[in-house]
């Protein structure tokens, strides 16, 4: 457990000190969202209607942005080989890495969401729902994303491939995440079901992600 926490701390430190990954992700997130009013027009009625969807899509894209650092940096400088020699199972290491990705990339994204909800006229009720869905749903983005990051770890410029591999797997999270907020805003009362499915997706990816990613890492290191 101590080693696990050390790894999370190490990942956090290196992601913030090597160019402040979290800050870059947040800037990307805020800018992406603020592009939409230029594209669809400034009408508050339209913005508040599509706002939750925009925020969720931007969150998916932000999650992808920092995925390629998850393993490829450790591969380049050789620390992945050393990590593989430690007593900690590779699966646990993947959990630590995915958790750090969630904390350092998606954590700031969630923190910046209230501001964007304000700009997009989503309203307090919608904002609470939005934050709740993101807290429950975004772990799936990190743990599913770990698979794509591990599959492409050894490929030079593999980061370009990651969106292609992982976006189809993100679709369910997007549907239930944006769906729950839409249900709250429309007052149709279907949000509990959506939230339960979001939780199920996160738990499921917590199980399948580390196993598949560790298998891919083992192959890559052979």
């Amino acid at each position: 457990m101590k080693a696990f926490l050390t790894l999370v701390r190490l990942e956090t430190l290196s992601s913030w000190r090597q160019g402040g990954a979290g800050m870059l992700v947040v800037m990307f997130y805020v800018m992406t969202v603020s592009l939409f009013p230029f594209g669809v027009g400034p009408d508050p009625a339209i913005l508040s209607q599509i706002g939750a969807g925009i925020v969720w899509v931007a969150a998916l894209l932000s999650a992808i942005l920092s995925l390629d650092r998850m393993f490829s940096i450790d591969f380049e400088d050789g620390s992945m080989d050393l990590l593989a020699l430690t007593a900690m199972p590779l699966e646990i290491q993947v959990i630590a890495k995915a958790l750090s990705h969630w904390l350092n990339s998606l954590g700031p994204v969630i923190l910046a969401t209230p501001l964007l909800a304000l700009v997009l006229q989503i309203g307090t009720e919608g904002l609470i729902a939005l934050i709740l869905t993101m807290l429950i749903g975004t772990p799936a983005l990190s743990f599913m994303g770990a698979i794509a990051a591990a599959l492409t770890a050894s490929i030079k410029r593999g980061g370009v491939l990651i969106p292609l591999l992982v976006l189809p797997l993100y679709i369910p999270t997007l549907i239930f995440g944006a769906g729950a907020v839409a249900e709250v805003l429309a007052g149709t009362g279907g949000e509990t079901g959506n939230l339960l499915f979001l939780g199920a997706l996160s738990t499921f990816s917590f199980v399948i992600g580390p196993i598949a990613a560790a298998a891919a890492l083992r192959t890559t290191m052979e």
Binding site: L151, P168, P172, A212
Partner: protein, 240 residues
């Protein structure tokens, strides 16, 4: 199983099978198309445009089946390290993708007269589109990996992750939106399709299936020939 891991034995088997599957494919396509385009009645509602069904339905059901086949072959490769299995998966993927694209294209052409629009964000269309993306990702991964041994294992893992996610994606997309008519081929209390339309549909389904088998065997043979060529060239280079 491992008996057929021997390339020579597989080649012999493929060479015996191929003339038969090829001839059957051609015959079934001829018969199926005759029934589909000529000898079956037009639909009482849809008129002659119902005939698109005979190219659309087999393509879409086979593209899904081929992905499952690919995943099963990938699993066989990971578990038993069976080299032909991953070759089969690799050879099947482009065929599946073409069927998937064909299903999307014919669906779109069918949608125009029926729903009045080329594209609808309806559940079954959308999950087909996602399946197309999954095929695309799998093939792209093969393309960019330089070491073909690693590419085999890495892409097998991706195929398995994909097949586990297909039901989830399909279910969530269905939850999201539904307009497409539900499957009428397999349904409780027997099929909802009249026998006059069932015959061409089943014939076309069989024709597509055999087409897949024929092309799969061809592609696997080509893959093996390519590997042999690579080895021979490397050997030649090391001699000189």
């Amino acid at each position: 199983m491992h008996k057929f891991a021997n390339p020579v034995r597989f080649n012999r088997l493929a060479n015996t099978l191929l003339p038969w599957t090829f001839a059957l494919t051609v015959t079934l396509f001829a018969a199926g198309l005759y029934y589909a385009l000529y000898a079956s009645p037009p639909d009482y509602q849809q008129g002659d445009s119902v005939r698109i069904m005979y190219v659309h339905v087999p393509a879409s059901s086979l593209s899904l089946a081929i992905y499952v086949f690919m995943a099963a072959a990938s699993a066989a490769f990971i578990i038993w390290k069976h080299p032909l299995a991953v070759l089969a998966a690799k050879a099947a993927a482009p065929i599946g993708m073409v069927f998937c694209g064909l299903a999307l294209a014919t669906g779109s052409i069918w949608g125009k007269p029926m729903w009045g629009t080329w594209w609808q964000w309806d559940a079954r269309l959308t999950s087909m589109l996602v399946l197309f993306f999954l095929y695309l990702g799998y093939l792209a991964l093969w393309q960019v990996m330089e070491d073909s041994n690693k590419a085999a294992k890495i892409s097998s893992i991706l195929a398995l992750v994909g097949v586990v996610n297909i039901p989830i994606i399909k279910f969530s997309v269905e939850w999201w939106n539904t307009l497409h008519q539900p499957s009428s081929l397999i349904r409780e209390g027997g099929s909802a399709i009249d026998p006059s339309m069932m015959t061409p549909l089943l014939l076309m389904l069989a024709a597509y299936g055999l087409y897949f088998v024929t092309v799969l065997l061809w592609r696997m043979k080509a893959e093996m020939a390519e590997k042999r060529l690579e080895l021979a060239l490397r050997e030649k280079a090391s001699w000189s």
